[in-house]
Symmetry: C2
Subunit: 124 residues, 2 copies
Amino acid sequence: MLAAKQYSIGDMCDAFGVTARALRFYEDEQLISPERRGTTRLYSERDRARLAWILRGKRVGLSLADIKELLDLYDVGDNRRTQRLKTVERCQDQVDRLKQQRVDIDATINELEGFIELVKAQES
Amino acid sequence: MLAAKQYSIGDMCDAFGVTARALRFYEDEQLISPERRGTTRLYSERDRARLAWILRGKRVGLSLADIKELLDLYDVGDNRRTQRLKTVERCQDQVDRLKQQRVDIDATINELEGFIELVKAQES
DNA sequence: ATTGACCTTTACGGAAACGTCAACTATTCG
DNA sequence: CGAATAGTTGACGTTTCCGTAAAGGTCAAT
């Protein structure tokens, strides 16, 4: 047992709604590094988890560079004190950014919803 | 009285933290259209309000094209029924997108904060 | 009249994040 | 075995959002 599932690039595309080109690009940028059987890529559960992270990161406006940095931070748990402080700092920065972004989003939602009501309220 | 305040492009840059290049670009893209005294741009309060909208739109991940569309919708209040329905529909789409984005942001914040705690918890 | 600050237009440049061929290879199905 | 299907690596193209000169106009102050 324990036959750690593997997925083809096509499987990944279907599952996540991304193109193969994008996956290869992420690999070029070192965001994921699937195994190879010969030249063919084989994605593991871990790769899937990372991809999910990547895509969510993108949706919240992180650059691929940001995402790579955070994923790398996740990977190395063996930090020394100074490094760990930097890690925390970088993460905290992103958290702060995201919180501000949430404020902006709420404001935009409110404004749009207000406008929608206003338009709806016009008699035809 | 009623001397409707005007702002130079430099004023706008200072007030909003954008470059003049950006403002001219937005004008090219028809997101704002300040008056001219000769060739010099004069921004009104309305222009300021629009710019605030633009910048917040950007921060929440809208493209300039999206923003232009929404601003244009705001402008024409004189719609007919079918047009109004489309307006509402387009706005609602954006609202839905933003709500999903907020979910993503919350998830990402949680994950990052969890990770921060984890890193902090390591004894040095 | 000259300097300096601020403004103008036009135009080329550039990173980010892929899309889109092209030209092969590897595997599989009938 | 031969065609179809899925995968591979470049290499160049595309869109968005401005940055960055280049080359000069305007106006107040010295």
